[in-house]
């Protein structure tokens, strides 16, 4: 590969090529960061490998994306950081619209809990093995996933309750 990578990230790519070559789809640089796209089946093993063998001990964020494509519609992006060398990589996986299920990374990083809840809340991607996968921002009984592309900008009228303005008649 002819990418300009730092020593740590090159080590990651070499390690993944050696141990998880069947899962590795592509590696590319964009906006001064390295993106590694992998298959979603073994994401937990790959993240755990990155943490234990390459010291990516800090999970900065988990991001969801709606690509609005007919196949592999949703993307989950793990923004992780090596605190020894200050290297940051983005690990991407794609999931289908029909049954968007991803293995939870909570056994690797405990901080994944709320981030996965946010991705679930906004996109409806479910995380298998999450101990408490509830909505984090929207009401518990909300029927929609607001950051999906087909969701209208102003929401569904009447879907979130406003306060009662005539409290005396309750």
């Amino acid at each position: 590969m002819s990418l300009e990578l730092t020593e740590t990230v090159q080590g990651v790519v070499d390690g993944l090529t050696a141990d998880h070559s069947e899962d590795l789809i592509e590696v590319y640089n964009s906006c001064d960061h390295t993106y590694i796209r992998v298959e979603s089946q073994n994401i937990k093993e790959i993240l755990s490998y990155l943490k234990t063998s390459h010291h990516f001990i800090f999970l900065c964020d988990i991001i969801g994306t709606d690509r609005y494509t007919s196949d592999e519609r949703f993307e989950v992006i793990y923004n992780i950081m090596n605190l020894r060398t200050q290297d940051r990589i983005f690990v991407k996986i794609r999931v289908e619209e029909e049954n968007p299920v991803v293995d939870s990374a909570i056994s690797v990083w405990k901080s994944a809990g709320w981030m996965e809840r946010e991705v679930y809340d906004m996109y409806g991607v479910r995380f298998e093995g999450h101990p408490d996968l509830r909505r984090i921002f929207m009401p518990e009984d909300y029927d929609y996933f607001p950051l999906r592309k087909e969701f209208p900008l102003l929401g569904i009228p009447g879907s979130i309750e406003l306060p009662n303005t005539t409290p005396d008649t309750e």
Partner: protein, 160 residues
């Protein structure tokens, strides 16, 4: 002594409404419902430079039981709207409401699913202030409009 000597012989009539309205208009204590950046301008409104105490409104009461005017300063999410309405219901009558800034008035730039598009969806707003955020003078102007409104009310008659 006093007013009798100034008036000389005779008597002086007025309405009890005029007296209560004068008192109410010049002691409209605000309930600062500061939700976003408008709250910073609201602090300037209360501070010495713009000096809301000229209008008797310097006493920012953080208890709804002691306040008369709720200044909704900032954007209201659906989640927060229940708390705002609850505080409004806890304020004793008579009470007034100022929707300060574009967000409180119409939702402003927060044109999205989580933000109530104007607090008048669940509060009876008396004065709207435009601006993002409005200058403290604009809020003073809204307060003066509220005072004008108070002075035209028939509060005692309505109480009977």
């Amino acid at each position: 002594m006093g007013i009798e000597s100034a008036l000389g012989e005779g008597f002086f009539t007025t309405k009890i409404d005029a007296l209560t309205n004068w008192a109410r208009a010049n002691a409209a204590w605000p309930m600062p419902m500061g939700l976003a950046c408008c709250a910073i301008e609201m602090m300037a409104f209360a501070g010495p430079r713009y000096d809301a105490s000229r209008f008797g409104s310097e006493v920012m009461r953080f208890s709804p039981r002691q306040s008369d005017v709720m200044i909704v300063a900032g954007w209201s999410t659906y989640k927060m709207s229940h708390a705002i309405r609850r505080i409004w219901d806890q304020m004793p009558d008579p009470k007034w409401c100022i929707a300060m800034g574009a967000c409180a008035s119409t939702g402003g730039m927060h044109r999205c699913y989580g933000v109530v598009q104007g607090v008048d969806n669940y509060l009876p707003v008396d004065a709207y202030v435009s601006g993002c955020p409005p200058r403290p003078d604009a809020l003073l102007h809204a307060l003066m409009k509220i005072q004008d409104k108070i002075k035209t009310e028939h509060s005692v008659l309505l109480d009977t």
